[in-house]
Symmetry: C2
Subunit: 397 residues, 2 copies
């Protein structure tokens, strides 16, 4: 047991160093790309070109790693071969192109794939057996998630929760926590910070009316997560059916996105949308904001652009919580925070990781409302989340 612990301390430190460094570089590049786009908004008109570039990139070099997150999950379920190292630079480049030209996407997919692919390179060097390799992949996922959002506890539990719906992989708990802690430390040691969201002040007292409201909000969040996952799958299927040459898909998707953004007359709904997320805690947003972000993100990712789903899900949830504030007797910042993590909890089927993320980002004051919202959202989001390769370990109810 001591040798198990010592070994995983070393391996987790290595995984953390790799994933944390990758996340740090990614976050810096993403900031740069986003700032450049905001200063040169004409680039949006070239979104179809960006789509074509991403499409060609993956068509010629990326076919073995195209499944992305799902490939990672599949390898955990049924190990076949070490993940190609190219997964890391390809997803990095694809995501940066997506954000440079103005697609609506996130970043957890990128960080998780970089973390997983880099971690898996240790499999050969250390001659790990299959079971240890599984732990290594889970640790890589945890490390990537932890470092890209600056939430080590959520990252650790995300890795344990994500691949099997309704199960939590306790035998990987040590590697996950250590790798998440190291990766987060490494990213911060590179001097890369994270968005600070406001700590929530709890409502004066927890009340039964508040609890009922949290349940209602959770139902809305869960159904929204379900719609998001279904819409993304639908759009992806549509593009696959009608365009057999894969690189054309993001090109056409990019053209539709450009038209949509032009028709909307605002760039609020492209990119990560961090500024809008922060506003959701402070002032009323349009009540349809969540729906627009949902549509644009499903279109971006369904068409084949790269990136993650999670930051857009934060946006969708925070905007939806914001929109529920006039209807439900809970404060707007609390509802925004509940939606922020709960829509994601439903879409990824990771309620405990999302509860921990809520505690890490917003403090423990609103923890109970956040927990109830995450749990109810998880329950109402159906059995098919955003990750197609996630298996059902135990039915939800």
């Amino acid at each position: 047991l001591l040798s198990f612990t010592g070994r995983w301390l070393l391996i987790s430190a290595a995984v953390g160093a790799l994933a944390g460094t990758a996340s740090a570089g990614f976050l810096v590049a993403l900031d740069w790309v986003t700032a450049w786009r905001e200063a040169h908004s004409w680039i949006l008109a070239a979104l179809p070109v960006g789509g074509l570039l991403v499409g060609l990139l993956y068509h010629y070099w990326g076919q073995p790693v195209e499944a992305g997150n799902n490939l990672l999950l599949d390898e955990i379920h049924a190990p076949r071969a070490v993940l190609p190292l190219r997964m890391a630079p390809l997803v990095l480049l694809g995501t940066l192109l997506t954000h440079l030209f103005g697609g609506s996407a996130g970043r957890e997919g990128t960080a998780v794939q970089m973390g997983g692919a880099l971690a898996d390179q240790l499999t050969g060097w250390l001659r790990l057996r299959p079971h240890d390799r599984t732990l290594l992949l889970i640790a890589g996922i945890s490390a990537g998630f932890a470092s890209v959002f600056g939430t080590p506890l959520a990252g650790a539990v995300f890795g344990l929760e994500v691949f099997l719906l309704g199960r939590l992989r306790y035998d990987a708990i040590l590697p996950s926590f250590l790798a998440a802690a190291c990766a987060d430390w490494v990213t911060r040691a590179w001097g890369v910070g994270h968005t600070a969201y406001p700590l929530l002040a709890a409502p004066a007292q927890f009340s039964l009316l508040g609890l009922g409201s949290a349940v209602v909000a959770g139902v809305v969040f869960g159904l929204t997560a379900r719609v998001f996952a279904a819409t993304t799958h639908l759009i992806r299927g549509f593009f696959k059916r009608w365009l057999s040459f894969a690189p054309l898909r993001p090109m056409l998707g990019g053209a539709v996105l450009t038209l949509l953004v032009w028709a909307l007359g605002t760039t609020d709904y492209i990119g990560l949308g961090i500024q809008v997320i922060v506003r959701a805690f402070a002032e009323p947003l349009p009540s349809y904001a969540f729906a627009l972000k949902l549509l644009l993100t499903a279109l971006t990712l369904g068409a084949g652009f790269k990136g993650g789903e999670v930051t857009p899900l934060f946006f969708i949830g925070a905007a939806l919580g914001n929109a529920l504030a006039p209807v439900l007797p809970l404060p707007m910042p609390l509802l925004a925070g509940m939606g922020f993590v709960a829509v994601f909890a439903g879409a990824a089927n990771t309620p405990l990781a999302c509860l921990l993320m809520g505690l890490e980002l917003f403090g423990q004051q609103g923890g109970l409302y956040i927990g109830v919202a995450c749990v109810v959202s998880y329950l109402f989001s159906g059995h098919r989340g955003i990750y197609g390769a996630q298996m059902v370990g135990q039915s939800k109810h």
Copy 2:
């Protein structure tokens, strides 16, 4: 699904009302009993009499419910019959007698048994099917735990984590969270408060040295949890072998305890020990404090007094963390907080519930250190914790 949610909202509210009210009454009575004992310390000399009373109580009326927490867990694993309602008053009375005469015990066992037994009475009234009854029992455990400590999130996850080592029961997640939230609300609505521990200020920055220290501390916490569980089982076995008439066991145990406390010359190590726990966050304690509490608690519970293990485990952990402060480069309050939840995490094999408890009690600042300590302690505490009826769902490593 809506009917599932609506039904469990109602059932959970009922469970919460029952368990929360029981916990409120229990906490008030416990305060009263503890204050009386502190004002009349001569009562300690009568501890053997108290032991005899508890023993006779359970011998004549309590045989079907003697297994206590283990009976609850057994019913979840293999449902047989509705728990006798008398479990609730018997464990309440037994615990109050234990604390009145100065045994060293806790309160979670009492709250959990009251919550479980009261909840289970709904089985007949509502004509629940076996699967629903399992969810009901889990909700009762969550509700009892949540309301006695004022930590609803930890209570909810404790119920999901406790009965099967290395598994988490996701299909009970909604009933658990709702019942825990309601029970906590009900206890507070009765005007019953909880000990406020100091919120931790994090060390300036998370460091690799700090992470290594958390791992070392976690190993020490986990081994201590192992020693605690083994000592309790050993003493219980010893008494069972040598005294066939059960009521004599706590009588003899009480006599030994009286002598020990008299020899020690301090009452710091009897009862709940809340005052010492609070001191562990503020000033150095004797380095052997944790060992004395461990011994006295194992003797109290092993001999057949009633109560729980958890508050003494908080004491043992906080005192041990306090004692590690001169050796490890982490602040004393943080080490005390880490030990507080991590020894319990190892002894009960519930790392995630304990992590959440750490976040609820001490704030999110020290969360990562607390998480690592809980996980490592869980790993090093062996596969046989304080609950004999806990089954191994998945090996720890």
